[in-house]
């Protein structure tokens, strides 16, 4: 009899219900956890997403079960509402704004052009994705991986192509972690040693007034021009205003600590939990991973090529290596510029100069996302 009861429990357990697809997903989750912990791939998001993938693929747990009538939904279903309604990505941008110093960008505003050029990959990937049969909404979401900005990619995808959310989020954060591998070969291929050796002039000092007005002016201008980008740019700039105003230290502190951390946990786990086997184990996912790499590469190339042009136009004052930092991926991409610059010329310190294009890239990808949402939303 006891054996019978055990058989019943077994029959009702996940062991009996598990499919090979779910086993594959669990293996993928473990690989992502490995990459996050051992290789330190964007661990804040990837570790959390990976655990969400794990939880979503243990059968019968029902963590993402929708609430229907009086029947209770699953834990992650409720937490996922913040993703679905676009709240979490905006709140993460609030925290990022509070962490970001736009000083280097204000000191050398031409960085903005690099931040624009480094959105190039978005549209290359968009075009190819269209070509191979994705809908325009899907293609736009895939393209945005090339913006190298996690919250923007998640925000855009939840609006345009929610089915692709896990694949796009995982691809975006993975490639951001791989920036130190993706960019250097392209940087060396496209620039000459002479260009890479260029030492740049010290940035001028930026007054507190300029730093305070910057977020206000950017909000007014960008939201007027592209209303759909308001939640992202608005919150990013509110966070930055908290930071630069100097009078709301405690709000700035909470935005970049307790609040962003809580939201990161909820966002990561629930985005991961959308990756159930049927949704993730499709040829589309492989296509997305491939297109994501293409997008990152062409964004890098876009930034570098404009960097070269600015090198020419400035009479050799701009080191084109800072162009690749325009992809966002703050501050990883700027560090790559620093490292490559120092390889070419040990006395070369590009970090601060690359921070300008780097933060311009955040604005650039938000703008690109706004355009695509306006066109296809």
């Amino acid at each position: 009899m006891f054996i019978d009861a055990l058989k019943t429990i077994w029959a009702e357990s996940g062991f009996a219900a598990i499919t090979w697809q779910q086993l594959v997903m669990i293996a993928i989750a473990c690989v992502l956890i490995y990459l996050a912990i051992v290789k330190k791939f964007e661990p804040l998001l990837l570790l959390t997403i990976a655990f969400g993938v794990l939880l979503a693929n243990l059968p019968l747990a029902g963590l993402m079960k929708e609430e229907i009538g009086s029947e209770q939904g699953g834990l992650l279903h409720y937490l996922y509402l913040g993703v679905k309604k676009g709240i979490y990505p905006s709140l993460i941008f609030l925290g990022i704004g509070a962490m970001t110093d736009f000083g280097p960008l204000i000191a050398r505003p031409s960085s903005l052009f690099l931040g624009a050029a480094a959105q190039f990959g978005i549209f290359i990937a968009f075009t190819i994705a269209n070509l191979i049969g994705f809908t325009p909404q899907e293609a736009a979401s895939i393209g945005i991986i090339g913006g190298a900005d996690g919250p923007t990619a998640i925000f855009t995808t939840t609006r345009l192509a929610p089915d692709l959310l896990p694949a796009i989020a995982i691809a975006a954060y993975s490639y951001m972690a791989l920036i130190p591998m993706i960019q250097p070969p392209l940087m060396r291929l496209l620039t000459t040693k002479k260009e890479r050796e260029v030492k740049m002039e010290q940035l001028r000092e930026v007054s507190k007034l300029e730093k305070i007005c910057f977020p206000i002016v950017v909000t007014i201008f960008c939201v007027l021009l592209l209303p759909s980008v308001a939640p992202l740019i608005g919150m990013l700039m509110l966070g930055n205003l908290f930071r630069e105003s100097g009078v709301v230290e405690r709000l700035s502190d909470t935005a970049q600590n307790a609040l962003i951390n809580i939201v990161t946990i909820f966002l990561g786990v629930t985005v991961g939990a959308t990756a159930n086997a049927e949704r993730f184990l499709r040829p589309e996912t492989l296509a997305i991973i491939g297109l994501g790499l293409v997008a990152f590469m062409f964004s890098t190339i876009g930034g570098l090529l404009l960097g070269k042009l600015m090198y020419k136009l400035s009479g050799g004052k701009i080191n084109p290596l800072i162009g690749s930092a325009g992809v966002s991926a703050v501050p990883m991409a700027a560090r790559v510029s620093q490292i490559e610059g120092q390889k070419a010329n040990p006395g070369n310190f590009l970090l601060m100069h690359a921070m300008g294009p780097n933060v311009a890239g955040v604005i650039g990808s938000a703008v690109a996302a706004g355009i695509l949402m306006a066109l296809f939303g």
């Binding site: 962490m99 970001t100 110093d101 960008l105 204000i106 505003p109 031409s110 903005l112 052009f113 931040g115 624009a116 050029a117 959105q119 190039f120 549209f123 290359i124 968009f126 075009t127 269209n130 070509l131 809908t135 325009p136 293609a139 007054s207 507190k208 007034l209 300029e210 305070i212 007005c213 910057f214 002016v217 950017v218 201008f221 960008c222 021009l225 592209l226 930071r243 100097g246 703050v330 501050p331 970090l351 311009a360 604005i363 650039g364 703008v367 690109a368 355009i371 695509l372 066109l375």
Partner: protein, 109 residues
Amino acid sequence: MSFFDSILVSIFSMALVFLVLASLYALIQIFAKLVGIFKHEAALPVNVPAEQAEVLDEGAKGPEVSAGELRLKGVDEKTAAMIMAIISHESGIPLSELQFKSIKAIEQS
């Protein structure tokens, strides 16, 4: 969407991205000029004394910018620890959030 259309959309969008960021470029430039003109009048009142503000500024570069090493010039480590503890106390910022680049003794003639 046809290939031609998506190329068109791409060119248009890319141009628009440039246009928006170029406008921001213009705005920043204009603003910097304005600030340059009104510099003396518009200066914001800052209550924090200068040295402390510097410390705050260094600590504010965000968690991403690595601290590098603390260089001590003409001060022994004990004094450095004391300075760090005092600044932490006076400014209300935990030691873990302050980043010191170097501590230098000033020669008194």
